[in-house]
């Protein structure tokens, strides 16, 4: 920005244009939806004039700062944001106080380098994750989408609230409706931040919303490159040559199917789940059918319903026990997966949520060990934690996510 011409122009403007009652970018004097450098300078000087030289003006320092921000990050234009539910919201100012009802969107904000001080309230599950979200321990706790503390949400006076887009829609719609009815100034955004199909788009949308375009693009590239390499594993392999995978959910003999996210990731990684028939999401499988189908890879899910490992504990032994238990099942010694030593345990922390790309990378590597020999999910995970999440977590000594 060149100050001298601005300064000169500003001298000609002694009275700032009043901020219009309708929403507009602060300082947009002619209200045409574009903040030019001229207008910005005029507004800045008008403020100075009113603050120090007794002139009349009604822009506050915050307004001026916001105007500068809009000028820098959005080229002086209001930003049209389309969230994952298809709704479009126009932003005229940067977001200063965000409330997240989902841990996934909170994590994504951190990945793109958002100033976490501006997150003024989080959901109770994130609040409870001392290891993963240490900086959120003192942030306000607004419950969960099933049991939201609406009063607390209003008390922290957010300008934006993040909710899920495609799951628990009835509950989230209800929260959105109540917020928008009682406090029109609060903007509600619906982002999932855990679905492979939409995550990349969401990263970029949130990044542009929050003025973290550069960092957001870095993260998006990181994510995309990982996903591309995952897809490389199966590329060109016809359906009937892909590895047969038996994916077991937290409960014994329960697999994933249909719309279940874990099924989607199994298929993304290039595996074929022969039990994924029908509409039930977590169908119970007949143990005999497993022996008959003879899967080439077996993957067991732990976490939440089968709570061991994850970020909270460094417990290789527990995962080993679970694996050993499976190997010991009657008839399993004859399954290809057991004979080839391709039975793995994975934690839902890295297979679900915002870190799904890490878990899917592990799956891909297990399914195509030769083609993806150079893929190093462990390194990806560490880079994610250290570089993007910025938490001090050394995978070598803390946490248990996969075994072996």
């Amino acid at each position: 920005m060149k100050f001298w011409p601005l300064f000169a122009l500003a001298l000609l403007l002694l009275v700032a244009a009043p901020v219009s009652a309708a929403e507009s970018i602060p300082g947009d004097a002619d209200g045409d939806g574009l903040l030019t450098s001229t207008e910005y300078a005029g507004a800045a000087l008008a403020y100075l004039d009113s603050a120090y030289m007794g002139g009349a003006g009604d822009l506050s320092p915050a307004d001026i700062r916001d105007a500068a921000w809009v000028y820098t990050h959005w080229d002086g234009k209001p930003l049209e944001v389309t969230d994952s539910s298809g709704r479009t919201v126009t932003l005229y100012r940067p977001l200063h106080r965000i409330v997240t009802f989902s841990g996934e969107s909170l994590e994504t904000l951190r990945s793109i380098g958002f100033d976490m001080e501006k997150v003024v309230a989080v959901d109770k599950y994130s609040h409870g994750k001392e290891t993963f979200f240490p900086e959120c321990q003192d942030t306000a706790n607004i419950g969960s989408i099933w049991s939201p503390d609406m009063e607390k949400v209003l008390t922290v006076q957010p300008d934006a609230v993040f909710l899920y887009a495609t799951i628990s829609t009835a509950v989230c719609d209800d929260i959105q409706k109540r917020l928008e009815a009682s406090s029109p100034g609060i903007r509600v955004f619906r982002f999932d931040c855990f679905k492979p199909a939409t995550y990349v788009g969401e990263i970029r949308t949130i990044a542009s919303m929050t003025g973290c375009a550069r960092r957001g693009e870095e993260f998006a590239a990181f994510y995309e490159s990982t996903m591309d390499r995952i897809r490389d594993g199966a590329a060109g392999t016809p359906e009937n040559e892909r590895p047969r995978v038996y994916f077991e959910y937290w409960f014994d003999y329960t697999t994933v199917a249909a719309n279940a996210g874990y099924n989607e990731k199994t298929e993304l990684a290039g595996g074929v789940n022969p039990f994924a028939t029908g509409t039930a999401e977590y169908p119970v499988v007949d143990p005999e059918a497993i022996l008959v189908t003879d899967p080439e890879v077996v993957v067991k899910l732990v976490g939440q319903g089968l709570a061991v490992g994850g970020y909270a504990g460094h417990d290789i032994a527990a995962l080993d026990t679970i694996r050993a238990g499976m190997l010991g099942r009657p008839g399993w010694s004859g399954i290809s997966a057991v004979k080839d030593d391709r039975v793995h345990v994975i934690h839902s922390d890295i297979l679900g949520g915002a870190q799904h790309f890490i878990g899917t990378a592990y799956l891909a590597k297990w399914f195509y060990p030769d083609r993806l020999a150079e893929l190093d999910p462990h390194a990806i995970h560490q880079r994610y934690l250290t570089e993007f999440q910025g938490i001090d977590f050394d995978l070598a000594s803390e946490g248990t996510f996969v075994y072996p």
Binding site: N141, S147, P148, L154, T155, A170
Partner: protein, 355 residues
């Protein structure tokens, strides 16, 4: 009549008058307690207001010219707290009244608004909406209208079955049990078929909560109560007569069959309109009239308003506990009222031993 006899008559009449006065005082006391509890409940919540700030916000909303309060406080009080408190009062009142009517016409002091399967049917309606997405209204009213319609469907089924076999308290109870099992089975099937998330939604609905209250919903429930409760009070003597037995009531001039159906439908309507918004809140409809009867006796002229007030107190008290005990989490109020049932039945059990 001899002078002595007349004197003795007066003694009896005075005894009855004293009884009436005690009951009136009890109702007055209940009303006062309710007003106090409302006053306290309005100040509870996770937003940290002082008592003065809360009341100032209420006044500022009612008389904006004279009082002023911060915008945020007013929003929280008027858009989140006030209607919730009043809704709990109305819902508790309505469920208790429905319960006392049921206990009267079924001649069973352990009957409740849910005895005839209303709750099971409403849950089925809600499940159909949640799992299959099918129903008559769309969007946010899908679950509500389904629950309401299915509850009335249950009432209709009871009526149909009872008409076929003769309308009496026994036939109604048997029909009610059949209805309850039928709808429970359908609900279980839907829960099995649905996804994990839909199952969670259905289970959550059955907990019963006042969370989703809004001013329009409060208006609807109040309207229904305003129309039905005065009529029930007007017919109080018929309810009293029914308690003496079908035959005796008939010989006293009560149109027994018509009245039983009408009262059953009214009680079902009140219950349906409440639980379609809140989900199945249990025990209020059973406990409130039962304990009220122990204090004020069975005359419906006092039993109806008194049990209504007791129900309102119980539900508002339970909701206040639900909001405070695990703050900032809000427990569904139906869980707290379910715990209410335990000491109540233990008490009944102990009393039985003495008698």
């Amino acid at each position: 009549m001899t002078g002595e006899a007349m004197e003795q008559n007066v003694v009896i009449q005075k005894g009855y008058a004293r009884l009436k006065k005690t009951r009136a005082l009890f109702i007055g006391g209940l009303f006062t307690a309710l007003v106090i509890l409302i006053g306290v409940a309005v100040t509870l919540g996770s937003a940290d207001f002082t008592v003065d700030e809360s009341y100032l916000a209420i006044l500022a909303g009612l008389f904006p010219g004279i009082f002023s309060a911060p915008e945020l406080t007013k929003t929280i009080i008027w858009d989140y707290r006030l209607h919730r408190v009043l809704f709990a009062v109305c819902a508790g009142f309505g469920l208790a009244i429905a319960g006392s009517v049921m206990q009267g016409i079924l001649r069973n002091p352990l009957a409740s608004p849910f005895t005839l399967g209303i709750a099971s049917a409403a849950t089925t309606g809600a499940s159909i909406a949640i799992v299959l997405g099918a129903g008559v209204a769309g969007g946010e009213y899908l679950v509500i209208t389904n629950a309401f319609l299915f509850a009335l469907l249950a009432a209709l089924a009871i009526y149909g079955m009872a008409r076929y076999r003769g309308i009496g308290s026994e036939t109604m109870v048997l029909a009610g049990i059949a209805v309850m099992y039928l709808f429970s089975a359908v609900t279980s099937l839907l829960q099995y078929v649905g996804s994990a998330e839909q199952l969670q939604a259905v289970v959550f609905w059955t907990f019963g909560s006042v969370d989703k209250s809004t001013w329009p919903k409060l208006a609807i429930v109040s309207l229904v109560l305003a129309c039905t409760v005065p009529y029930l009070l007007y017919r109080a003597w018929d309810l009293n007569a029914l308690a003496e037995g079908d035959e005796v009531a008939a010989s006293l001039g009560v149109p027994v069959e018509r009245s039983m159906i009408l009262f059953m439908v009214i009680a079902s309507l009140i219950t349906a309109v409440i639980i379609c918004f809140t989900g199945t809140i249990g025990f209020i409809g059973l406990v409130a009239p039962h304990i009220t009867r122990m204090v004020v006796g069975g005359d419906f002229r006092t039993l109806l308003p008194a049990s209504g007030l007791v129900g309102a107190l119980l539900l508002l008290g339970a909701d206040s506990i639900a909001r405070s005990v695990l703050a900032p989490q809000v427990l569904p109020v139906g869980i707290v009222t379910a715990f209410l049932g335990v000491p109540f039945f233990i008490y009944l059990f102990l009393r039985r031993r003495d008698a």
